[in-house]
């Protein structure tokens, strides 16, 4: 295993912990379906995605806007409302055995599980926290009923938990707008972790933050995640954040997972042509090589190209890519790639 980065800690190698994945997603398809004036549209935002988040790991998910990241997160969180529909596939949570995802579970069950077992850290901390309620009230709204503590013990638990994210108890009396962006995001991290959930979904947790604050917040997520024993699904387009935090990384393109592997493996030796391009064009200080964009733009998911969805922009596209969609093929331990051109069996 590679040497630990600052703020990261060495973990047990995955093969030594053959436990049930916290969430296992199989062939998930979530489409937006609209039917207006007789015109039917299907936007295939998530189209056959398979992956799992293991216990005690940070699973990173990346992809550009409209690649289906947010739809995937919404579906996992059970926020499936028309026009979004789950069309196929299953989501198996370790804490909800025998179910096929939060969207198919009766509301009381969802209320029991949500925040206790599955919580979120969202991008805009301002929109997560109720602007007219003090931070203390937000903690009561979110966590009190899950903790099963008396009011006094709960207050003490909140204060000691805030200390974990290096916040003074005085923030409890503040309104969200009185806190800086970094403090607010630490409040939402504290809020998301206080119930010791099995899974935390962090959707662009540092995108709205300043560069200087960002690293602190990331280190905090890493630290508190370990302390509370949660797994994290980290969704962000920022590869720097993934390099810093994620153990494994999945790359989405146009509603599908095109590559998945250990983060250092993906960053060091990307295989899929899209991933290769993505990594190669990242700006780096000290690197003067000119960067070129990919031709074309991401496909319209209401009318995606046939076969591999990347083939119109792909430098390695072959005849088969126009007809068939490649599935994820194993490329070594923990590394899966969906591409005909780079799969070992293919003539290349």
């Amino acid at each position: 295993m590679s040497a630990p980065l600052a703020g990261r800690a060495t973990r047990v190698a995955p093969e030594m912990a053959p436990r049930v994945p916290v969430v296992s997603v199989k062939g998930l398809k979530a489409y937006y379906r609209t039917d207006q004036y007789g015109v039917q549209r299907r936007v295939r935002a998530v189209d056959g995605v398979t992956f799992e988040v293991r216990p005690d790991e940070i699973y990173g998910l990346t992809g550009e806007s409209s690649s289906g990241k947010t739809t995937l997160v919404k579906t996992l969180a059970g926020a499936v409302r028309p026009p979004l529909q789950v069309v196929g596939g299953t989501i198996a949570f370790s804490f909800l055995p025998g179910t096929q995802g939060l969207h198919s579970v009766p509301p009381p069950e969802v209320a029991r599980v949500r925040w206790r077992r599955l919580s979120y850290i969202m991008q805009g901390s301002m929109s997560v926290l109720n602007p007219v309620r003090r931070v203390r009230s937000s903690f009561e709204d979110f966590a009190f009923r899950h903790m099963g503590l008396s009011r006094r013990d709960f207050a003490a638990a909140v204060e000691s938990h805030l200390a974990r994210v290096k916040l003074e108890p005085s923030v409890l009396a503040a309104y969200p707008h009185e806190l800086s962006g970094g403090m607010r995001q630490r409040v939402t991290i504290a809020l998301a972790t206080i119930c010791r959930p099995e899974l935390i979904i962090a959707d662009e947790p540092t995108t709205a933050l300043d560069v200087i604050v960002q690293k602190d917040v990331l280190a905090m997520i890493s630290h508190i995640r370990q302390e509370m024993g949660s797994s994290v699904m980290l969704v962000t387009h920022d590869m720097g954040v993934h390099a810093y935090l994620s153990d494994r990384l999945g790359i989405m393109y146009a509603g599908r997972l095109v590559e998945e592997g250990r983060t250092d493996e993906i960053l060091g030796r990307p295989r899929h042509p899209y991933t290769r391009h993505l990594i190669a064009t990242l700006p780096r200080i000290g690197d003067d090589a000119p960067r070129r964009g990919l031709e074309g733009s991401p496909p319209n998911l209401a009318d995606p190209p046939p076969g591999c969805r990347f083939h119109p922009r792909c430098p390695l596209a072959m005849e088969v890519c126009h007809r068939e969609a490649p599935s994820l093929a194993v490329h070594g331990p923990d590394h899966r790639v969906a591409c005909f051109a780079v799969t070992p069996e293919a003539p290349s």
Binding site: G240, R269, T281, S297
Partner: protein
């Protein structure tokens, strides 16, 4: 001083918040001096954390916000002296903005080609429709689009990358000398982001348009800019040639900023050599 495209002399901006008795003054920009030469187009990056005053500085250069103290001269003319709408138009023709979120910059109910025609009519002195279309098409070709793709379309029908390219094409119509771009790529798809940054470089070398490029991302600033200004709390803490400043930042704040850049390289592992 002659030969300056834009010159800022001791520019400050103080915002007053709150009422008469509980007024709180926030100094957004403090005593900034800056000069862009007219004869040599450059891309100047302004970086710093949010609240460091970089956007306020940009807005003052765009003459959207008036400085509380100091003077901003554009080609020797003080922006304060721009009063008539004719003078305003002449200024806007030469200095064009690109905003962070193209979806917010354009009216969602207005067709995009209309923006091009209006800009062509107002700022490029085009009278007839055929010329307006032709000019628009030329500008769109510069950024890798064509009028056929844009005609009759609304902002939501384009991706963020396309829309930002469109915004740049619109700015090019008036043949400006300076573009002020505030975080122009942060809302753009990752696979297209660097192509837009590259576009600014080609505008500089081919059309001789200077750009003031505001970003908090030092890696992008390194890629796109020739010179850089690092701001903290409204003031400039360090400035100079981008490569010099970013390879060896001197001011503690600049160093802190550079240290905060997340490295893409993991510590050297067994597979650090590239095999592709």
């Amino acid at each position: 001083m002659s030969g300056a495209l834009v010159e800022l002399a001791h520019v400050s901006k103080t915002f007053t918040r709150g009422g008469l008795f509980a007024a709180r003054r926030v100094q957004a920009v403090a005593d900034v001096n800056l000069r862009l030469a007219a004869d040599k187009p450059i891309i100047l990056a302004i970086t710093g954390e949010s609240g460091s005053g970089k956007s306020t500085l940009a807005r003052m250069i765009l003459n959207i916000v008036e400085p509380s103290a100091g003077a901003i001269l554009f080609r020797g003319r003080n922006l304060r002296s721009i009063r008539s709408s004719a003078a305003r138009g002449a200024f806007m023709r030469q200095v064009q903005p690109i905003f962070q979120n193209p979806f917010e910059a354009f009216n969602p109910l207005k067709r995009l080609d209309r923006y091009l025609y209006i800009t062509a009519r107002r700022f490029a002195g085009v009278a007839d429709m055929a010329t307006a279309e032709q000019r628009s098409n030329e500008a769109l070709h510069r950024v890798g689009l064509s009028l056929g793709e844009i005609k009759e379309r609304f902002p939501h029908e384009l991706s963020g990358g396309q829309l930002q390219r469109f915004a740049i094409a619109r700015a090019l119509l008036s043949n400006p000398a300076l573009i002020v771009a505030d975080e122009p790529v942060s809302m753009v798809d990752a696979s297209l982001r660097m192509s837009i940054a590259t576009l600014f470089r080609s505008l500089r070398s081919e059309l001789r348009i200077s750009t003031i490029y505001i970003t908090h991302d030092l890696a992008t600033a390194y890629y796109v800019s020739d010179e850089i200004i690092i701001m903290q709390k409204g003031g400039i803490v360090e400035s100079g040639a981008t490569r010099t400043v970013l390879s060896a930042p001197r001011h503690p704040y600049s160093r802190q900023l550079k240290d905060a850049v997340l490295s893409l390289r993991r510590p050297p592992g067994p597979d650090s050599e590239d095999s592709s």
